[in-house]
C-alpha cells in the first residue's frame, strides 16, 4: 500500500459517497469553466477572423489619402475631399522611398454602369496594373489589365464579384461590352470575392487610369499636377512599414511645401497599424468576456466552499475518529483539500469539454468563428484546480483544527 496514494483514494470515497451533492457542486464549476472557455474562444475567434480578413486585403498595404487625419478611429476631417495628392506624388514616392515593392495611384468616380437591360451605380477606379499586387486582388476568370493596356489607354474593365453578379448574373461576361458613363468598355476579368468588409473590392470596377482620364476629366492642381483619389503601395518588408510611413510623410510634406507647424494635408495608413490596433482591441474584448465568465466561476468556487463546510460539519465525528487514531492536522487538512481540488478539477475538465462543444456548435452554426487554444484550456484547468485549493482552504483548515474530544462527541 503506497502512502501517497491514500489521501487520494480517501478523497474519492468522500466525493463518491455523496453523488448528487458532488455532481451539483461540480456542475457549478462546469458552468463557470465552460463559460470562460466558450466566451474566450469566441473572442479569440473574432480576433483571428478580423486579422485574416485584413490579411486578405494585404497586410503589407499602405494607403495614402488626401486630407488631414486625427488618427485611426478618430474623426477624419474632410479626408478625400481635399485635392492634394497627385500622380507626381506617387511617382516621387516610387522613386525616392526605400522598401517599396509597388505603387499604384488611383482615381475613382461614381459612374452609371449599363450592361444589356441591367444598370447600377458603382465606384469606378482608374489605376495602374500594380494595383492588383498592392491590394492583393485575385482574378477569378480572365485577367487584370496589363502594362500595355495601361500605356495605350485601352477601354477594358475588371469587375468586382458583386458588380458582375448584378450586371451579368450567371452569364460569362468576359469579352462582353458594357457602358460606363458615356464610354463603352470591354470586360476582360472578374475578381475573386473577398467577402463583405470595409474596403472590399467586390463592389468596385477597375479600368486603366489612362482610360479613366478619357472618360472623366481628371482635375489638376495649381501646379498642373494630375490629382488622384488615393495612392496604394506595398512594402517589401512588413517590419519596415512604420519607417516607410515616416519617409512618405516627410517626402510628401516637403513636396506639398508644408511648414513645420502646418498639419499634414494627407493621411498615411498602414494595414499593419490597423491590424495591430484591431487585434489589441479584440484582445481587450476577449479578456473582458473572460472576466465576465470568471464571475460565474467565482460563484461556483463559493459553492465548493459551501459544500466543503457542510461536509466538514457532517463529518465532524469522522474527523474526531481519525484524530483519535493518530491523524495529524496535516493529514486531515490534505484530505479535505484534495477532496475540494478533486471536485473543482473534475468540474474544470468537464467544463473544458462542454465549453469546447459549445464553441464548436457556435462556429458550426456559422454564428461566429471560435478558436479554442491550448493556453486557454491549460489556464482553465489550472484555474479550476486553484479554485478548489483556494475555496477548500478554509473548510480544510477548520476541519484540521477541530478538538478531537468535542468532535468525537458530535452527533
Amino acid at each position: 500500500m503506497k502512502k501517497w496514494f491514500e489521501p487520494f483514494s480517501t478523497a474519492w470515497v468522500g466525493v463518491a459517497s455523496h453523488k448528487l451533492r458532488s455532481s451539483l457542486t461540480i456542475l457549478g464549476i462546469v458552468i463557470g469553466i465552460a463559460a470562460v472557455i466558450s466566451l474566450m474562444s469566441i473572442g479569440k475567434g473574432a480576433e483571428t477572423d478580423i486579422l485574416s480578413r485584413i490579411e486578405t486585403l494585404g497586410s503589407d498595404l499602405i494607403t495614402i489619402r488626401p486630407g488631414a487625419s486625427v488618427g485611426f478611429g478618430g474623426v477624419r476631417s474632410a479626408a478625400g475631399s481635399a485635392v492634394t495628392l497627385t500622380m507626381e506624388d506617387a511617382e516621387a514616392i516610387a522613386q525616392q522611398v526605400p522598401y517599396i515593392s509597388s505603387v499604384a495611384p488611383l482615381y475613382s468616380s461614381n459612374l452609371q454602369l449599363v450592361a444589356g437591360n441591367k444598370n447600377m451605380n458603382s465606384q469606378v477606379t482608374g489605376t495602374t496594373p500594380e494595383y492588383m499586387q498592392t491590394n492583393n486582388l485575385n482574378i477569378l476568370s480572365g485577367s487584370f489589365f496589363s502594362d500595355y493596356d495601361y500605356q495605350r489607354g485601352a477601354k477594358v474593365a475588371v469587375l468586382g464579384s458583386n458588380v458582375k453578379e448584378t450586371l451579368f448574373g450567371d452569364t460569362d461576361p468576359i469579352g462582353q461590352q458594357m457602358r460606363m458613363g458615356s464610354t463603352i468598355v470591354r470586360v476582360i476579368g472578374i475578381l475573386e470575392s473577398k467577402g463583405a468588409m470595409w474596403g472590399s473590392p467586390d463592389d468596385a470596377i477597375f479600368i486603366p487610369l489612362t482610360a479613366m482620364q478619357q472618360t472623366v476629366a481628371q482635375p489638376r492642381t495649381a501646379k498642373g499636377e494630375r490629382v488622384v483619389s488615393s495612392i496604394s503601395l506595398t512594402v517589401s518588408d512588413k517590419e519596415k512599414a512604420n519607417y516607410v510611413v515616416g519617409e512618405i510623410t516627410s517626402l510628401l510634406r516637403s513636396r506639398h511645401n508644408l511648414g513645420p507647424s502646418a498639419d499634414n494635408d494627407f493621411t498615411v495608413t498602414s494595414m499593419e497599424e490597423i491590424a495591430s490596433t484591431l487585434s489589441e482591441t479584440m484582445a481587450t474584448m476577449t479578456i473582458f468576456l473572460g472576466a465576465i465568465a470568471a464571475i460565474s466561476l467565482l460563484v461556483g468556487g463559493i459553492g465548493v466552499m459551501n459544500i466543503m463546510l457542510v461536509s466538514v460539519l457532517e463529518r465532524t465525528r469522522e474527523i474526531g475518529i481519525l484524530k483519535a487514531l493518530g491523524a495529524q492536522e496535516r493529514d486531515i487538512w490534505t484530505q479535505f483539500l484534495i477532496e475540494a481540488a478533486f471536485l473543482t478539477l473534475a468540474g474544470g475538465i468537464i467544463g473544458v469539454i462542454v465549453g469546447w462543444i459549445v464553441s464548436f456548435i457556435v462556429s458550426s452554426m456559422g454564428l461566429m468563428t471560435t478558436v479554442v487554444t491550448a493556453d486557454i484550456v491549460i489556464l482553465a484547468v489550472c484555474v479550476s484546480a486553484g479554485i478548489g485549493l483556494f475555496f477548500g482552504f478554509y473548510p480544510a483548515w477548520s476541519a484540521s483544527r477541530l478538538n478531537p474530544i468535542e468532535a468525537l462527541r458530535h452527533e
Binding site: 470515497v13 484524530k323 487514531l325 491523524a327 495529524q328 492536522e329
Partner: protein, 224 residues
C-alpha cells in the same frame, strides 16, 4: 507505563470554571488490566481522554512510557496516539462508508508502518474472529461484530496501551460477554496494558484492579 501526578482538568464554562478532575494521582504498570468505575459526570471519561493523549491536563504531570507528555504540542500528541494508544469506544465509531477491513487499515495508516497494512489488518480481523466479514460495511454487522471490528482496529498496530470507554455499554449482555472475553484474552496473551471504563461490576471483576472515581477524585482502589 502510566503515571499521573496531581492531575487537574478545568473547563471554562462561560465566566465560571468547571472543575472536572481535582488532583488525581494514579500509576498503572505495564501489562495491567484496570477498570475505572464511577457515576456519570465523575470525570472518568475525561481521565481516559487524558491518558489517551486526546487532551492535556490543566495542571499536574503525566508520564507515559517514561515520557512527560502533559505539555506536548498537538502534533506530538497525535503521533503518540497513532503509535502507542488504541481506542475502543462505546459507540464503536467505525466509518460507515468503509468496509470492515478498510476501517482496520485506517487504524494503521497513522501508526507509521506502511508496508504490510493489509496483511496486518487481516491478522487483527482474524484475532477477533471476523475474517469472513472483511468486506462487510459496519451497517451490515451486528453491534457485537462492530465492536469486534473496532477492537481489531485498535490492536492492529500492536499498541502497548488500549483504552476502552464503556466498550459494552451499547451491547446486549451476551455480546458484552464476548467483547470482554476478547479484551481479557488479548491482555492475557499479548501483555497489552488495558484500561477500561465500565458501569458493570461483573465486568469490572474480570480486571486486576478497580479504580473508583467520584467528583473528580479517586475515591478508592480495590484489588480483585
Amino acid at each position: 507505563m502510566i503515571r499521573l501526578q496531581d492531575i487537574a482538568k478545568v473547563y471554562p464554562m462561560g465566566n465560571r470554571e468547571l472543575k472536572v478532575l481535582t488532583g488525581i494521582s494514579l500509576t498503572i504498570e505495564t501489562g495491567e488490566l484496570v477498570a475505572i468505575m464511577g457515576p456519570s459526570g465523575s470525570g472518568k471519561s475525561t481521565m481516559l481522554n487524558l491518558i489517551g493523549c486526546l487532551d492535556v491536563p490543566t495542571s499536574g504531570s503525566y508520564h507515559l512510557d517514561g515520557r512527560e507528555v502533559s505539555r506536548l504540542s498537538s502534533r506530538e500528541l497525535a503521533q503518540i496516539r497513532g503509535q502507542k494508544v488504541g481506542f475502543v469506544f462505546q459507540t464503536f465509531n467505525l466509518l460507515p462508508r468503509l468496509s470492515a477491513l478498510a476501517n482496520i487499515e485506517l487504524g494503521l495508516r497513522y501508526a507509521g508502518s506502511s508496508d504490510r497494512q493489509r496483511a496486518m489488518a487481516m491478522e487483527a480481523l482474524t484475532k477477533v474472529g471476523l475474517s469472513d466479514r472483511a468486506n462487510h460495511r459496519p451497517t451490515e454487522l451486528s453491534g457485537g461484530e462492530q465492536q469486534r471490528i473496532a477492537i481489531a482496529r485498535a490492536l492492529a498496530k500492536n499498541p502497548p496501551l488500549i483504552l476502552a470507554d464503556e466498550p459494552t455499554g451499547n451491547l446486549d449482555s451476551c455480546s458484552g460477554e464476548e467483547i470482554i472475553s476478547i479484551l481479557t484474552s488479548l491482555h492475557a496473551e499479548q501483555g497489552i496494558t488495558l484500561v477500561m471504563i465500565t458501569h458493570d461490576a461483573n465486568i469490572a471483576h474480570h480486571c486486576q484492579r478497580i479504580v473508583h472515581i467520584k467528583d473528580g477524585q479517586i475515591e478508592r482502589e480495590e484489588k480483585v
